[in-house]
């Protein structure tokens, strides 16, 4: 995804999603922009970060020179542990996921459909794919939140009628943050909940690939800091 996109930057998209996290939630952050949610200051809300490799309660990235080389998050970054952390093995870690114990999973995506389907594991024409833990998380977390650019590099919508790429799970996405704003799949289309500063409603309409519902009073995206 390009760093020159309009509207929200990567950290701001992550910030906006992080503001949704409630005190005590168990949160799984996917590789890439979702990881940035853990940088967001959301006050004294106590968030428990889980990663697929069995770490429950990881904290910030380890300072250079102080890394524990046997401690990584799902993206392979050397992280730290918060007080109260625990480590389990992979089958138990996905037991936590499949068992419905994850309050929210935040992932990147190529496309999200108005039905809540989304695609993020295989690109067009590829023989292989990269599923990782995404299908387990998508099918089983209590909520799936997506962070992605509003359009592809060539300008095609990522908020679409139907996914063209192979889906990761069906009907699961609850919330999407893009550089253009905050969107909810509603079945028959997307509802825009908040619009990014500097983005016009015309620009949003032009970049959503299906019906768009706009509330009478459309707030601007809440930002932190």
């Amino acid at each position: 995804m390009s760093g020159t996109a309009k509207g929200l930057n990567r950290q701001q998209m992550a910030d906006r999603i992080a503001l949704e996290f409630q005190d005590g939630w168990i949160v799984n952050l996917g590789v890439g922009i979702p990881t940035m949610c853990s940088n967001t200051d959301i006050g004294d809300r106590d968030i428990i970060y889980h990663s697929e490799n069995g770490v429950i309660g990881y904290g910030p990235i380890a300072p250079a020179g102080e890394e524990d080389l046997n401690l990584v998050n799902a993206g392979g970054q050397n992280v730290t542990l918060k007080p109260g952390a625990a480590v389990v093995h992979h089958a138990d870690s996905f037991g936590i996921i499949r068992g419905g114990h994850i309050d929210v999973t935040v992932m990147g995506a190529y496309e999200v459909a108005r039905s809540g389907d989304f695609a993020n594991w295989k690109i067009g024409g590829a023989k292989g794919g990269g599923i990782g833990g995404a299908m387990d998380l998508a099918a089983c977390a209590k909520r799936v939140f997506i962070i992605m650019e509003q359009t592809t590099r060539s300008g095609a919508p990522r908020l679409v009628d139907q996914c063209a790429l192979p889906v990761t799970a069906r009907g699961v996405v609850k919330l999407v943050a893009t550089n253009y704003g905050l969107f909810e799949p509603m079945g028959d289309g997307f509802r825009i909940r908040e619009i990014a500063p500097g983005i016009t409603l015309d620009e949003v309409h032009a970049t959503v690939g299906c019906k768009l519902m706009v509330p009478e009073n459309l707030p601007t995206v809440r930002l932190v800091g």
Partner: protein
């Protein structure tokens, strides 16, 4: 128990009986838990037509350490069973892709939790189970599903291993293991699924009884061979990850 130690004198000695066609699981998630030294020994050993089970095919991280992609490049592999058969980022290229797209090597793509659970099932005598993961996706096409309490689930089968290669921090002579932090990942699960589990171990092997029975992560009954990892450069150890340039 553990009067006769399971310690082997070398990585070479620990892998020398691996036959062509074996199914081998490799612990590890990013750097932690990857049995670098056993992979290197298997590369040198040369067994072929192998079926390899691991989270990824490797090759995406720098500096590159021994990974199953190297065994692929060495012509030793018939098939991989992984949660990633392409790079995590679509813009990256991993060595495996060339061999897969040419048809030289086969691959089975399995969601990570299903992969772990299939090996857990093999170790725990569960021949098959149902999971919500991958329902409605390309991976479920043509496969058996079942509606239970109104929700659709996919039938998945146990995945037994001939060998598991894992890495641990501490071992006693009986084979009881402890892992440090996220070194644990797939390692204990693969150990239960394998007929023969071989562990490379960071610390000197301690006498049976030196590890608190309450604090054993993998019980010695699941572990058959131990090799102490020598200090670098003779032994291979996890390194700091280098951030890719963007």
């Amino acid at each position: 128990m553990g009067q006769s130690s399971k310690a082997f004198p070398s990585f070479h000695a620990a892998v020398q009986d691996i036959p062509d066609g074996a199914t081998i699981g490799f612990g590890g998630f990013a750097m932690p838990g990857v049995p670098f030294n056993l992979i290197k020994a298997l590369y040198e050993h040369g067994a072929r037509q192998l079926i390899l089970v691991a989270n990824t095919t490797g090759g995406a991280q720098q500096p590159r350490m021994p990974d199953i992609g190297m065994l692929v490049e060495n012509g030793q592999v018939k098939k991989v069973i992984c949660a990633f058969t392409a790079a995590t980022r679509p813009t990256d290229v991993i060595p495996f892709t060339k061999y897969y797209e040419s048809g030289e090597v086969d691959a089975e793509l399995v969601p990570q939790g299903t992969l772990a659970e299939r090996m857990r099932a093999a170790g725990a005598g569960i021949p098959a189970f149902y999971t919500p993961t991958a329902v409605g996706t390309e991976l479920a096409a043509g496969r058996e599903t079942r509606v239970i309490n109104g929700r659709e689930y996919l039938l998945e089968y146990a995945l037994p291993l001939d060998y598991a290669f894992i890495r641990a921090t501490r071992a006693d002579t009986f084979g009881n293991l402890q892992f440090h932090r996220s070194q644990r990942n797939f390692c204990p699960v693969m150990a239960t699924a394998a007929r023969i589990t071989i562990a490379e171990v960071d610390e000197d092997i301690v006498p049976a009884g030196a590890i608190d029975p309450d604090q054993v992560h993998t019980a010695g009954i699941f572990v058959h061979r131990l090799v102490k990892v020598p200090p670098a450069p003779d032994g291979l150890w996890p390194t700091r990850r280098q951030e890719r340039r963007r």
